[in-house]
Symmetry: C2
Subunit: 129 residues, 2 copies
C-alpha cells in the first residue's frame, strides 16, 4: 500500500514535470482542492488543471517537483501523506519556500485507485501565512 501511494505521487510529479495536465487532472477526485497560494484555492479537475498551467508558466516552464522523506498515515480508503516536497525551477520562488512539508489527502475510489482529494503543499505553515 505504501509503495502504491508513493508510486502514485511519482506519477503526479512526472505529469507536472512533463506539463501533461490532462493526465494530471485525472489523478484528482471530482471535488478535489488544490491550495495554490494560502489565499487561493482551485476546486475540481478543470480549475486544478488551469492552476497548474499558471504555476508552471510562473516558473518559466521549468518546474520539477520531487518528494523527500514521506510518512503515510492510512485509515481504510483514506490516507494522509506528509511529505518533504522539493520544488526545483530555474526561477527561484522568493515569497514561499521551495522546500516544503506538504500534506496530501488521498482517497481510494470504487475501482481501487488512489486519487488526490486535498493537495496542500504548504502543510501546517498555512496557519502562519
Amino acid at each position: 500500500m505504501e509503495h502504491e501511494l508513493k508510486e502514485f505521487i511519482k506519477k503526479c510529479d512526472k505529469a507536472i514535470k512533463q506539463e501533461d495536465f490532462d493526465t494530471l487532472k485525472n489523478y484528482y477526485t471530482d471535488d478535489a482542492i488544490l491550495v495554490v497560494k494560502p489565499d487561493m484555492i482551485a476546486r475540481g479537475k478543470e480549475e486544478i488543471k488551469q492552476a497548474f498551467i499558471k504555476i508552471t508558466k510562473y516558473f518559466n516552464n521549468s518546474l520539477v517537483p520531487a518528494q523527500g522523506e514521506m510518512i503515510i498515515l492510512k485509515a481504510g480508503d483514506t490516507a494522509l501523506v506528509i511529505s518533504q516536497t522539493l520544488l526545483e525551477a530555474d526561477k527561484n520562488e522568493t515569497e514561499y519556500s521551495m522546500d516544503r512539508r506538504s500534506t496530501y489527502v488521498f482517497k481510494k475510489n470504487s475501482q481501487g485507485e488512489w486519487l488526490c482529494a486535498i493537495d496542500n503543499s504548504y502543510g501546517t505553515d498555512l496557519i502562519n501565512m
Copy 2:
C-alpha cells in the same frame, strides 16, 4: 460547514477533558487511526479509547486540549483540518511540544455526520521525529 467542524472538534476536546472515552471513541470512524507517538499508532475505536485512557493517566488526569487558529480545507465529504493545538496539564510533557500544529482528517458518513478518520497532533513535524 466550517462552523460544523469547529463545533465537532470542540465536542471531542470536551470529551477528552471529561474523560468520557466511550463518547469520544464514537467520534472516530471504524478504521480511524490516532498517532499516539511518532512510532505508535492506535487503530480503531477500541484501541483509540485505550490510548486516550493511557494518555490522560500520563498527564495525571489533568489534560485539557484546546484549539487556537484553525484552517479547514474541505473537498466534498472529506476535510483536512490544520489546527494550532494547545495541550494543558499539571504535568508538562518534555519530549513533545504542548503547542502543536495538528493535522486531522474528517469524513462525512451517510448520516451526514463528520467523524475523525486520521488524528495526528504532530502534524508535519512527524517527518523530523
